[in-house]
C-alpha cells in the first residue's frame, strides 16, 4: 500500500528482528475467537485515477450543486477569497494536532487566539472559545451553560430559532433535567414575542435567534432588560454570521451568551459540514464556558506565546464534572474563518453584509410584487425572507428546478406542516441580479 513507507520486505525483516515469524503473530494477544478469519468485504484498492473518476461520477449526480440557488436556512453561499483555501492547505496547519506542545504549535495557538478575539469583536462579547462543532451544538451547550450559571432548569426558546438547532438542543438536554419552554411568535411581524409572566424565577435563559429562522431581525434589546431583571441569561443565536457586518452586535443588545454558525466565513456549504460553531460570553462566565481556550503566556525570557488554558474546565482533568465533553473541535474551519475575517477585514465584512441586505431587499420587492405571491412578515430582514406562494411550495420549487434550472429556496413545509405554501428565500452577494430576475420570472411562470 503506497501510504505505508515500510515495504513488505522491510516489514518481514522487522518482524524477524522482533522474533516473530509473521504479521499474524502480532495479534497473538487477541483470543482466536475474536479474530476475523476472512478478508474484509470492502472493495479492492483503487488507483488515484480510478478513485478520482469514481468520486467525480458521484459528484456529477448532485445536480443541485450546478444550479443558481436561493437556499439559506443555516448554510449560506458567500464568496471566499482564494487564499483561504490555499492557506489552510499548508500541511503546517491541516496535518497538525491539537496544540498540546506549545513550543512547536505556536502557529495554531496564535491563530486560535486571533479567532477568539475576532469572534469577541463581531459578537460584542468579552470571551470566546476555540470553537464548537457547529451552531446547533453551540446553542445546546449555551443552554447547558445557562443551567450551570443560574442553577435554574427552565429555558424559554423562541419558536423562530432554526428547527434543527431546536432538535439538537432537545437531544442534548433530554437527560440534563432541563425543561424547554416556548416563547410566542407574531406572524404578522415575523418576530418572537413573550409576556413577562413567563419569566419566573425558574427560568435559566431565554434563547432568541436574530436574524431569526424566517429571516426577520429580532429586537433583541427589547428582551434584555426583562430577562436580566428575572435573573436569567439572554442567549442569542446567529445562523448567518455575515449579518455581524451590519446588525447591532448581540453584545451591544445585552446578550449574555452568543452562539453562532461560522460557516458563512469562507467555508463551503459542503452538504452540511464541516462548519464551525462560535461561542462567546461575558468575562464573568469565562470559567463556565465549554470547550478549549487559548491564552497568552510568557517564557522565562519574557517572550510572548500562547497556550491552551483554563483546562481545569475540561474533561481531561474534570472528567464527568467538565463543562462539556467536547475535545476535538473544528480547528481548521475556525482557521478558515479567521483568514476570511482577516482578509475581508473591517470594511469588507461590512460590504458583504450590505450587499446581502441590498440584494435581498431587491429580490423581496420583486417577488412581493408578483401576482399571487406575498411576503407575509413586516419586520426588517437581513438576507432571508419568507415568500407565500399561491400553491404548494415544494411542487412549485420542483418545477422551478427542472424548468428553470434554479433552486428557488426552501419549502418551509419541511419543518412546518402548517406552512405548505411558504418558501424561505435567501439572497447573498453571490446571487447576481440576472439570477434574481430569472427567479422572479420563473416564479411568475410556474404558478400561472
Amino acid at each position: 500500500m503506497r501510504y505505508i513507507p515500510n515495504s513488505p520486505e522491510e516489514r518481514l525483516e522487522m518482524l524477524r528482528g522482533l522474533g516473530l515469524g509473521s504479521a499474524e503473530e502480532l495479534f497473538d494477544s487477541l483470543p482466536p475467537d475474536v479474530l476475523l478469519k476472512r478478508p474484509l468485504d470492502t472493495p479492492v484498492a483503487l488507483s488515484e485515477p480510478e478513485l478520482l473518476e469514481r468520486f467525480e461520477a458521484m459528484a456529477a449526480k448532485n445536480a443541485a450543486a450546478r444550479r443558481p440557488s436561493f437556499l439559506g436556512a443555516g448554510a449560506y453561499s458567500h464568496y471566499a477569497p482564494t487564499i483561504v483555501d490555499s492557506l489552510i492547505q499548508r500541511s503546517e496547519f491541516f496535518t497538525a494536532y491539537t496544540p498540546y506542545q506549545p513550543e512547536i504549535s505556536q502557529g495554531t495557538l496564535q491563530a486560535i487566539f486571533e479567532f477568539q478575539t475576532l469572534v469577541c469583536q463581531l459578537t460584542g462579547m468579552d470571551v470566546a472559545n476555540a470553537s464548537m462543532y457547529d451552531g446547533s451544538t453551540a446553542m445546546a451547550e449555551a443552554v447547558l451553560m445557562a443551567e450551570r450559571v443560574t442553577r435554574r432548569t427552565r429555558v424559554l426558546v423562541s419558536p423562530a430559532v432554526h428547527p434543527e438547532y431546536m432538535r439538537v438542543t432537545e437531544t442534548y438536554v433530554a437527560h440534563a433535567g432541563i425543561e424547554l419552554g416556548r416563547l410566542g411568535f407574531d406572524e404578522d411581524a415575523g418576530r418572537t414575542t413573550f409576556d413577562a409572566a413567563q419569566l419566573d424565577k425558574t427560568v435559566a435563559a431565554v434563547v432568541v435567534q436574530s436574524p431569526n429562522f424566517f429571516g426577520c431581525v429580532e429586537d433583541v434589546k427589547s428582551f434584555a432588560d426583562a430577562v436580566h431583571a428575572a435573573g436569567a441569561l439572554l442567549v442569542v443565536v446567529v445562523t448567518e454570521a455575515a449579518s455581524f457586518g451590519l446588525l447591532r452586535s448581540p453584545g451591544a443588545c445585552g446578550a449574555d451568551i452568543v452562539v453562532a454558525e461560522g460557516q458563512s466565513f469562507g467555508v463551503p456549504v459542503s452538504y452540511g459540514g464541516p462548519y464551525v460553531g462560535l461561542f462567546a460570553t461575558r468575562e464573568k462566565y469565562a470559567r463556565q464556558i465549554p470547550g478549549r481556550l487559548a491564552g497568552v503566556a510568557y517564557d522565562k525570557e519574557g517572550r510572548r506565546g500562547f497556550v491552551l488554558t483554563l483546562a481545569t474546565r475540561e474533561q481531561h482533568i474534570r472528567r464527568e464534572k467538565a463543562t462539556s465533553n467536547i475535545c476535538t473541535n473544528e480547528g481548521l474551519i475556525a482557521l478558515a474563518a479567521t483568514i476570511y475575517m482577516t482578509t475581508l477585514g473591517r470594511q469588507g465584512l461590512q460590504e458583504v453584509a450590505a450587499q446581502c441586505a441590498q440584494k435581498a431587499a431587491y429580490a423581496r420587492r420583486q417577488i412581493g410584487a408578483l401576482e399571487g405571491f406575498s411576503v407575509p412578515h413586516s419586520a426588517p430582514v437581513f438576507n432571508e425572507f419568507v415568500v407565500r406562494a399561491p400553491s404548494d411550495a415544494a411542487a412549485l420549487l420542483r418545477k422551478l428546478a427542472s424548468g428553470h434550472n434554479v433552486t428557488g429556496g426552501l419549502a418551509l413545509g419541511r419543518y412546518f406542516p402548517g406552512r405548505p405554501n411558504d418558501i424561505l428565500v435567501c439572497v447573498t452577494e453571490t446571487n447576481k441580479r440576472a439570477d434574481i430576475d430569472a427567479l422572479v420570472a420563473g416564479l411568475k411562470e410556474v404558478q400561472s
Binding site: 489552510i88 488554558t309 441590498q358
Partner: protein, 507 residues
Amino acid sequence: MITKATTHVTQNEALVFERSQNGRRGYRLPALDVEETALDELLPAELRRDDDLEGVPELSEPDVVRHFTRISTWNYNIDLGLYPLGSCTMKYNSRLNEKVARIPGFAGLHPLAPEEDSQGALEVMYELQQHLAEITGLPGVSLQPAAGAHGELTGVMMIRAALDARDGTSSDEAKRRKVMLIPDSAHGTNPASAHLSGFTVKTIRSTPEGLTDLDHLRELCGSGAVAGLMLTNPNTCGIFERNIKEICAVVHEAGGLVYMDGANMNALVGVARPGDMGVDVIHLNLHKTFSTPHGGGGPGSGPCCCTAELEPFLPVPRVTADGETYRLEYDRPQSIGRVKAFYGNFGMHLRALAYILTHGNDGLREATEAAVLNARFIADGLADTFDRPFDSPPMHECLFTDKRQSRKGVHTLDIAKRLIDYGFHPMTIYFPLIVQGAMLIEPTESVGRAELQQFVDAMKEIAREAVEDAETVLGAPHTTRIGRLDEAAAARKPVLRWRPAERAAGA
C-alpha cells in the same frame, strides 16, 4: 547525537490586530448590481451596528498571506515526520483525499438541496456506512456525530433510550438504570459524555496487567442498576482486553449494554471486529483511524455503529437506500433525535471513504499490521531503557513511564520537551492517568524504519542525558523560538483575547 534536526532562521510575526493599518484592503467584491435602497429603509438605525467594526483588522492580501504563512512555520506537523501522539493516530493525510473533498459537486452542494438532486452525496454517505458496518461488524451506522466525544454522547444516549424502551422506564426516573461503568484508564471524554447523558459514573479498577479488573466489574454489576460499560479496546494502555467477550457477557447478564470507544481501532481494522466481541455500540474517529486531517484540533468525525437491536435509536435522519435511490429517513419514532444540524461533517465522510477505497480491503489490514509492527519496534527498542508499567504485548501504541528517570529528577514532561530538540513531536504524556508519568507512544503505519530507529536512539540519548546531564533535559527545549511557557501564570490571570492595550512591537 541529534540527527533529525538542527536550527534555522525563522520569522517573527505579531498578531493580525497589531499588523493592521487603517485603510488596507484584502478583498474586493463585484460592484452591487441592483438599485441601492437607503439603509434606513432596510433597517432602522437602532438595529444596525454603530461601532464601524472597530478593532477588526485591515490588511492587504499579501499581508494576510505572509501573516498566516509565517505563523504556520512555527508548527510541527505530520509532513515533517513522526508525530507519535498516543491515542491520536497521527497518520499520513493524503492529498488525494483533500482533492476529493474539494470537488465542486460536493463542496458546493447545499445540505437542504432536494434529495433527488443530491444523490451523489447520499451515495457517498451510504457507501461509507456500509463499509464501516463491515469493518466494525455492527450493522447500524450514523455519520452524524462531529467527533469522537460527540459519538460517545450519541452512543451513550442510544443506550439510555434502548434501556428505557426495554425496561419501560422512559418516564420512570426511579426505576431507571443509571450506572455507567468506566475503567479508571478511560479517556476523560467517556465520563463526561456519560454524565451529559444523565448517567452516574462508577469507575472500574485496572489489573496490574493493565486490563479491566473482571472481578471488580462483576462486583459492580452485582449492584444492579447497571446501564452499561464504556470500554476502550485496545485500551488506553495500548493493550487488547483479551477478556472482552467475557466482559461483554458479564455486562449483558447484568442487563447492561456495552459501549466501545473506537479511538484505537487502528489496531484492529481488518483483524478483529467489535461486533464479533459482543460490543453493542461504538464510535469511530474518522480523523484517526481513517486519516481525515486533524487540522490543529478538528474538524473530526465520530460515526456511531451499533447492533441491529440498537438501530432504531440512532439519530435522525438516517441515510437509507431503496434500490437505486438514496433517501434521508426521518420517521424513526425511537430515535434519540438529532445531535447535529444537517448530516455530520460530510467533508470528512468523503475523505474517509477515499481512504477506504484507496487502501482496498487488503490495504486496510496491511495498515493495521504495519501500525502494530511499528509500535512493537519502538516498544522493543526502548524496553531496556524505560520502565514499562505493563508487560502485555502492545498493540498499535506502547506505554512507558519516567520511573527510572524521575529518580534523577527528570520527569515525563522534561523528556517530552527534550524530544523537541531532537526534532520529534513528543508522545502523549500523563495519559492514561492511572499510570504515573505515562508516555504513550503511537507511531502509526505512516513512518519508516529509519525514522523509528532515530526516535529510539533519541529516547535513549535523552535517558543517558538524564543521568549525565540532567540540566540539559530539564531546561529543554533549547532549539525552539520560545521556551517553556508559564502555563500556571497564564491560567491564573487568563488573557483570552487581544485588546489594543497589548499592542506589541508589530511587523
